[in-house]
Symmetry: D2
Subunit: 144 residues, 4 copies
Amino acid sequence: MTDTRPPAITLEEFADVTRTGLPMAYRLGLRAEAIGYGTATVRMPFDETLVRPGGTISGPALMSLTDYTMYAALMGALGRVELAVTTNLNINFLRKPAARDVLAECRIIKLGRTLCVLDVTLTSEGDDRPVAHATGTYAIPPKT
Amino acid sequence: MTDTRPPAITLEEFADVTRTGLPMAYRLGLRAEAIGYGTATVRMPFDETLVRPGGTISGPALMSLTDYTMYAALMGALGRVELAVTTNLNINFLRKPAARDVLAECRIIKLGRTLCVLDVTLTSEGDDRPVAHATGTYAIPPKT
Amino acid sequence: MTDTRPPAITLEEFADVTRTGLPMAYRLGLRAEAIGYGTATVRMPFDETLVRPGGTISGPALMSLTDYTMYAALMGALGRVELAVTTNLNINFLRKPAARDVLAECRIIKLGRTLCVLDVTLTSEGDDRPVAHATGTYAIPPKT
Amino acid sequence: MTDTRPPAITLEEFADVTRTGLPMAYRLGLRAEAIGYGTATVRMPFDETLVRPGGTISGPALMSLTDYTMYAALMGALGRVELAVTTNLNINFLRKPAARDVLAECRIIKLGRTLCVLDVTLTSEGDDRPVAHATGTYAIPPKT
C-alpha cells in the first residue's frame, strides 16, 4: 500500500512511544528514520552485543527490529494505537548481515478493521540485498 | 520426535554457550531447565523491562525465548553446533502472557541432514494454556 | 486442546458440507475419519493424479488436505460454521510422502472469539514420521 | 530480485512441464502469462468448482496457484529443475476474491545455492488490491 495521506504519527511521537513503553527496543537503540501513512523505515545501530556465533547479528535482534518497524508503520496509518498487538510473524533469514547498521523497511499490505498485514525487508546499510524478509499481522484494538 | 537417546549437550555446557556467545539471551536471563535429545525447556524470568503497552510481555522477548529454546533443543540432538542458524520462524501469539515467568517447551519435528524443523509452545508459569506457538527451521552447518 | 466435550458436528454432516460446498476437496476424495471437539483426522486416498515430478505427492494436494482438516476440527468445536475462512496458513514440508494414502491429524491450539489457531501433522499411512506440519488461523464468523 | 537476464525457460516449455507433470495445476487451468529471470505471472481462470461457502474462491485453489507461480519463477531463473520442492509456504488471505480470474505475481527474494525464497501476490483481475500474499521456500536439487 503506497499512500499519499500524511502519517498519523510524527517521528518525535513515535520516539516517545518507544522511550516510555518499549524498553527492549529503546535499549537496542532502534530509531525510526521515516514514517509515512502505512510505511516506516527503522535503523538498528550496530553493536557488539548483537553479534552471535559466526559473527552474524542475532536472529532475535532482527526479529525485534522487524516487529518494531511494523508497529511504526501501523501507527503511521492509525496514530497512537499502543494496544495493537502482533498476532503472527513469519520471517525468513536470507543472508548473513554485515557488522553494520541494519535498516528495516515496512509497508502495510492490507489494513482491515481488526487486522493489519505488513511486509518488512531488512538490509545491511550500504547493501541492497535483503538479509531477512518478514510478514506479520497486527490486531487493531477496537475504538473506544 | 521423542527420543530416549541421551542429550548431546549438558545444561552447564549450554549455559556456557549462552554466556560466551549470546549476549541478548544472557541479558534476558534465559535459562535452560531441561535439555533432552531434540527437546528443551527454557525459562524466561519475569522482569518489568519485558513489559509493553497493555501490560503484556513484548513480542520480541517471546521471540527471543522461542529462538533460544530451538537452539537448545537442536544442540540436545547435535551437540555444540554454534554455527547453526535460523532460516525461518513462524510464531502465533495466542493470549496475553501474565506478569510471570514464561516457559518454553521445544521438540524437534524433523531432523534432516541440512535442515531441522522444530516446534515451540510458550506458557505462563502455572497456567497450561499456551501464550504463543511457533515453528522454525534451523540450517545445520556442514561437518568439517 | 484436548477436550472431552462431544463434537459439534458428525462425520455425516461434515461429509455433507463437503459434497455440497467444497468441490475441490470432494474431487480429491478427502474423507474425515474422526472428528472430536476441536480435533479431526482426515484421509486423502492415494491417486496417480496427485503425483508430481520426483514421484512425490504434490504440495497443493497436501495443502488442500491440511486446510480441509482444520475446517473439520473447527466445526468439531463450533458446528456448521461454513463461513469460517482461513486467514493464515504456514506449512513445512518435511519428507517425501510415499505413494500411499496421507493422513492428517489436526487439533485446535487456541479457540478465541474471532480467531482459531490450529496445528496439523500429515503422515503417510503406516509410517509415523511426519511428511508435513502446518499451523493455521481461521477467522470465525460473527454469530447472527 | 529484478533481473534483466533472459528467462531460463519459455512459456511453452513451462506449459509442457505442467501438462506432463502437474495434473492438479493442469486441471485447474493454471497458465503462465509471463516468465522472466526469477519472476512469473500466472492466471487461474475462474470456474464454479473453485467456489467455497461464502461465494469466495477456496483457499486450496489459491494455494495451488501460489505454489505453481513460485515453481514458474524458479524455473525462470534455473531452467527445468522439476525436482525442486517446496519446503515452506506461508500465506495470508487478505480479501474475499471476486468471482473472476485470479492473477499471481511472483518474484524471487533470494536465490541461494540450495534454497530459494520467493514472494507472491494474488489479485482478482481488474482490481489491484491483493487478495492474498505469500512467501515460500523451494529446495533446489543438487546439480548432477
